[in-house]
Symmetry: C2
Subunit: 155 residues, 2 copies
C-alpha cells in the first residue's frame, strides 16, 4: 500500500476517528496523490447503511471531511515546496462541510473519493471531493479547510 497523506500526520494528530492511523475504532481513511488529485478508497462496513443496501450519508460526509482536510494538508506542503511530513506539520481542521447527495450510494464495494483543490488563500484551502461507487458519482462535497494552530490538540 503506498504511503498515505495521513501516514505523515504527527502522532498527536493521528487519533482522528475518520482518518487517524492510531484510532482503533476509526474508519482509517487514507488519501494518496494521483496526478493533480488526491484519491481515497474506502469500503463501508455492512452496518454503515442508511437503509439496507445503501451507504449512510454521515459516513459519506466523514469520507469527504477527512479526505478533503488531508488533501489540503498535502497541497499546503506542495505550495510551500516542502516534503510531506516535515516539521512544522501542516494540519487542517474543517471550517465548513457541504455535501450534495446526488443519488443513493450502493453498499457492497469500495467507494472512491477524488479531491481537487479549488482555492488556496491565506490559511484556508477549499477542496471539492466527489464520491464514486462503481464509477458513478453519488455525492459531491466541498470543505473549507482551515490551517490548525500549532498548539491545537496539544496538552
Amino acid at each position: 500500500m503506498p504511503l498515505a497523506i495521513q501516514d505523515d500526520y504527527p502522532e498527536n494528530l493521528a487519533y482522528c476517528y475518520g482518518c487517524g492511523r492510531l484510532n482503533e475504532h476509526g474508519h482509517h481513511i487514507r488519501s494518496t496523490w494521483d496526478g493533480d488529485e488526491a484519491v481515497a478508497v474506502f469500503t463501508p462496513e455492512p452496518w454503515h447503511i442508511a437503509v439496507p443496501g445503501f451507504v449512510y450519508g454521515g459516513v459519506i460526509a466523514s469520507l469527504v471531511d477527512c479526505h478533503s482536510t488531508g488533501t489540503a494538508a498535502a497541497a499546503a506542503y506542495q505550495a510551500a515546496g516542502r516534503e510531506p511530513g516535515t516539521d512544522p506539520a501542516f494540519r487542517f481542521v474543517t471550517g465548513s462541510l457541504h455535501v450534495d447527495y446526488l443519488k443513493p450510494t450502493p453498499l457492497g464495494g469500495p467507494l472512491t473519493i477524488r479531491a481537487r483543490v479549488k482555492e488556496m488563500k491565506g490559511r484556508k484551502v477549499v477542496v471539492e471531493s466527489t464520491v464514486y461507487a462503481d464509477g458513478v458519482a453519488t455525492a459531491v462535497g466541498n470543505v473549507v479547510a482551515v490551517q490548525m494552530p500549532e498548539n491545537f490538540g496539544k496538552s
Copy 2:
C-alpha cells in the same frame, strides 16, 4: 425515556447507522419534540475524536443529518395533521448537508442538538440544527431533507 421520532420509523427504515434502533453498531440518535423544536442528546464515545479531547466533525455531521431528517419527518406529520408513525410513513433522505464548525466541540459529556424547521415546500423540508456542548453552540448545520419515495429501500 420518552418516545423518540425514530421509534416510529417502520422496520425497513430502522437500520440507519446514525439513528436506526435496529442497527447494532450505530449511533442510535434519538430525537424528541420540545415545544417548537426537536431535541436530541448524544454522548460521543471516547474514540469519536478529531484530536484528543475534541469531537470528530464527521460524528457532528451525522448528528445534524439524522436529527434534521427526523425533525423533517415529525414536522411533515404535524403539517398533515396526522399522528406520528401512522402509515404511510413520512421518511426523509438528505438532499444536502451543510455544517459550519464554529469552534472545537469538547469531548466528555452529552451534546445537545436543537433543530427548527426553516422551510417546508412540496417534498422538501429545510431544517437548521445547532449542536451545543455545555450550553455553548459549537456547530450549526442545515439540511435539505427530501421526502423518500415510498418504495425506497424496499426489496
